[in-house]
Symmetry: C2
Subunit: 575 residues, 2 copies
């Protein structure tokens, strides 16, 4: 008896110790944020923008896999609501924390506080941003870096790291931009004025050229818009975490004289491959390894240029500064030049090389359902829109999560949106009938089923125009199982890569091409799937996936205070 | 029996007929409005502004005394809340319809609809405008004209009328303006670019001069900013309804060669008096009678200039067009020139002439309480503010009406703000200690008591600067019982005009002067009393009066959905 009690005690002690260890390893990280307007000069042109705690970009969140993030967010904008989306975070069990207005929650009103509390499951390079109106384009974004859990290691080695959050910048306010997009006649907001690296860029000046000629006309002396400096030691390996939260621009990044090895995409390990430059689309993130194996007496340019649209925005430049050189020592070689904006073969060859790291989990070998989504530019009552299978997404006043969870009628349009488009549709030509309709209807997906989505690109309204669209899925990673040119065909299924497709949360469709993804609908909630180009989403380019909503836990009431759920709360008709 | 029944029937018929008559006389007037951004070019410089149903200024409401106004207001701004204040309407019995964010209601969220339903008791010239952030300055305003009830007549005759809603216009967005005002160091928004008449003005051009010299460089061909034309017949009398909803400017209005007879101020009849020009401050309205007794072969300029601040904004011009002259026939005489901006004697002599029309109700002959309000410019933690008795008003997240009605603790700062200021304070000099504090505390006033308020002006932060402040009281008219220069003194009470003081809802304090008002606290509710200059209110220049809140009826829940009342609604803790 005595021995037995003792061993029980010892076993218990052991269990408690394990529990304590687990508890100490997984932390809750608390942040107290105030979102409000600040003056800032990201490109040395002053503008008001949306900052967090007075900072632009917002503070970097750094955590370890398994940690819980707790952000107490107070809205101190004067008259506007706000939400923040945690881009790439799955929100398993916390779909109300996804931070999407009209989808996962009601916008947080001025002076109100909302708590975002969610677990970061997986190490990787993520970011966060506004997801209400076009507030992301107003500067509401920042980095979210998740390190491997204690005792875990990344499957690659590096001596140091740098974080590069890329964005593009307009001098026009987002109010002007938004009204232009929803005007008749349509007013296009044009190309951004500046590309930013970590919130800094140089407007209207070829910094490199000027610096090289010794006639620097840019105000690079102001630290607000001075080039970012990456201070490195020779013969080391650095991890560059690169994420893009651009409003419009697709980007290309290269470093003079150096190659890079791609090791991570959207928080997932990829089979390492070496490149001279990487393409990065809005909503994507990469980690690349940079080995400082070049002549250490020189510095080198890191250059970011525009892809996929005729560039009217100067490249953004940063300096890779080999220690102990002065950071102001000009690189001897010119900044790398991005490939021609419309060299899509270059882009495709990069995308096609991204494959899952050996040993990564494989996708289910078949899908339960296939949804084909035709991307078209359309007209509705003279307004220019983007549509998916001829439906332009109009977000409802009552967020889907609440209205679906509580089975409210008439909170959004009934019926299932189309699963395909007419076989007669010619994706290579402008729509013969550009008229489309708006709707808030949603795809309801059987819980735990496997879904293939074929994103089919097409010709826009103008002849010979087909644009790049980076599609981002909330609540999931998906496998990118195939790409193709022209129209997707049944026989393309046989060519799907089911062996080592990469897991991503964002994937691009190339002009006149298609991209096939597969995912398992295992995350109870309502999730947006949309083009990550801010004006395109604003013009209706997205769809809604709902899965296992009956398994969603108790939604915090603070997320339900608007629309029909708000009225029900008001009259005590919600549980 | 038969006779008796018959007479009963006849009597009943008579009563019914009277009831029917009453019913037909007092109408409920329904309006369905959508508030949203539109492009407009009020001064031929395009800008986005807040319009109603696509119009700027918003639609004119026209009703008869005794009517009920029912406005179903849908907010179609993308991310911003909105409210509308019905300036000059008493809101007796409907304090939740006063349209003041943080005071009478929660802001209406995007996509939500709020019904403003209230009675217009008294014929007169009113207007409505945004009362959240600085949305009034974004163009959210329009006219509200109440005609005499059927069978009632105004105590003056006229053959026709014109409505002139005056405003000032900035090219800078209200977001920029707002952030500037709440920045450290303070950034003053400067003088407006243009004065507008009914939403039209001419930027950066002396229209008159140009027209006269025949070299019109202004784009007056565009109807957006063409001068307003008042088409008149000779030898008639016209009522000009003039209201000012300027953000900053005090104005003076005159008509070449013509005199005007003032007959109405803020919806109250005044003893008619003849003037060459009138001063009008933000928040005020007047009716003047214009007799077209001048040479009918000519047209005449109506000119509006800036008072009280060194004018950097060109006068606004309209044309009084004697029929059958062409409206484009240039007036032979130059536009009237406003008095020197700092000729306060001119302003005072005008204000002092405004007296109640003979037979108007007299004020109570004594007051139960006197509150002296010292107006000072201050610093709080380096921010520039306006304070009243050294307290700068900081509006609370929970509107007072709900938090007071339901006796919530901690919804706003406790304690009564001071009723006076130190006798040692020298109003003629900058504050010796400019530090002030922010608070949301309120003056609670005994229901049905009579209150005197002495508005005491003082020197601002800079030496030899004392500004004009037009103070507007919600929920009441008040009697203006006295004005004086320098510091108010007990002996001034004896000089109060209790015989024929005018009833107003807005009154000015002149530089270094004081103004005394008297009102009866007979309207259950919570009412703002504040400087009507938009940036001044934003900088804290106001106080809160609460009276008879226990008599307030059931507040619509839609007015309570924010802050602490929102949380209580959410948890079913409100009746």
């Amino acid at each position: 008896m005595a021995t037995s009690s003792l061993s029980l005690l010892l076993i218990s002690a052991g269990i408690i110790s394990v529990l304590l260890q687990a508890a100490s390893a997984s932390k809750t990280r608390h942040f107290k944020w105030e979102v409000g307007y600040i003056y800032a000069s990201p490109d040395c042109n002053e503008k008001i923008l949306i900052g967090i705690n007075g900072q632009f970009p917002g503070p970097t969140i750094r955590a370890k896999a398994g940690d819980t993030i707790h952000v107490e967010l107070k809205n101190t904008l004067h008259t506007e609501g706000v939400v923040i989306h945690w881009h790439g975070i799955r929100q398993f069990g916390t779909p109300w924390a996804d931070g999407t207005a009209s989808i996962s929650q009601c916008a947080i009103d001025p002076e109100e506080t909302f708590v975002y509390r969610f677990r970061v499951e997986k190490a990787g390079t993520y970011f966060y941003h506004g997801h209400y109106g076009m507030q992301r384009a107003a500067g509401l974004y920042g980095s979210l870096i998740v390190d491997a859990a204690d005792g875990e290691a990344e499957p690659f080695r590096y001596d140091g790291e740098f974080n590069l959050l890329l964005s593009d910048w307009y001098h026009q306010s987002i109010y002007d931009q938004t009204v232009g997009l929803s005007s008749k006649p349509f007013r296009w907001i044009g190309e951004p004025q500046t590309l930013l690296i970590n919130g800094r860029g140089q407007y209207n000046c070829s910094l490199a050229a000027h610096l090289i000629e010794g006639s620097n006309t840019c105000e690079t002396t102001s630290k607000d818009c001075a080039p970012v400096v990456l201070r490195v030691l020779p013969n080391k390996t650095y991890r560059l975490r690169i994420a893009s939260t651009t409003s419009l621009s697709s980007l290309n990044l290269a470093i003079g004289n150096h190659k890079m090895v791609v090791v991570e995409a959207d928080g997932n390990h990829v089979e390492p491959f070496m490149v001279d430059d990487i393409d990065i689309y809005s909503g994507e993130s990469y980690s690349v390894l940079l080995t400082t194996d070049q002549n250490p007496s020189s510095n080198y340019w890191l250059s970011i240029g525009v892809r996929g649209r005729k560039p009217k925005t100067s490249p953004a430049l940063a300096i890779v500064n080999y220690s102990p050189n002065s950071p102001s020592k000009l690189p001897e070689s010119s900044p790398p030049i991005a490939p021609e904006w419309n060299d899509y073969n270059h882009s495709k060859s990069f995308s096609y090389r991204i494959l899952a790291r050996r040993g990564a989990p494989k996708p289910p070998q078949s899908a339960d359902r296939r949804i084909v989504l035709l991307n078209t530019q359309n007209k509705i009552d003279g307004y220019t829109k983007w549509s998916i299978n001829n439906i332009s997404l109009a977000l409802p006043p009552t967020p889907y999560l609440g209205s679906m969870r509580y089975r409210l009628k008439n909170a959004f349009d009934a019926g299932t949106p189309p699963e395909n488009f007419p076989s007669s549709y010619d994706v290579m030509k402008p729509p013969t009938n550009p008229n489309s309709t708006q709707s808030s209807n949603a795809y309801v997906i059987r819980f735990n089923s496997t879904v293939d989505v074929i994103l089919q690109n097409a010709n826009a309204l103008a002849v010979n125009v087909s644009e790049i669209h980076p599609w981002h899925l909330h609540g999931h990673d998906f496998w990118v199982v195939g790409y193709g040119d022209g129209r997707f065909d049944e026989k393309d299924v046989a060519r799907f890569n089911l062996k080592n497709p990469p897991l991503r949360n964002t994937v691009v469709i190339f002009p006149y091409g298609w991209t096939a993804i597969r995912f398992v609908a295992d995350n109870p909630g309502v999730w947006a799937f949309h083009c990550h180009i801010e004006p395109h989403l604003h013009m209706g380019m997205g769809v809604i996936f709902a899965e296992g909503v009956e398994h969603v836990g108790k939604i915090p009431k603070e997320a339900l205070v608007c629309g029909m759920t708000g009225k029900m709360l008001m009259h005590n008709h919600l549980p």
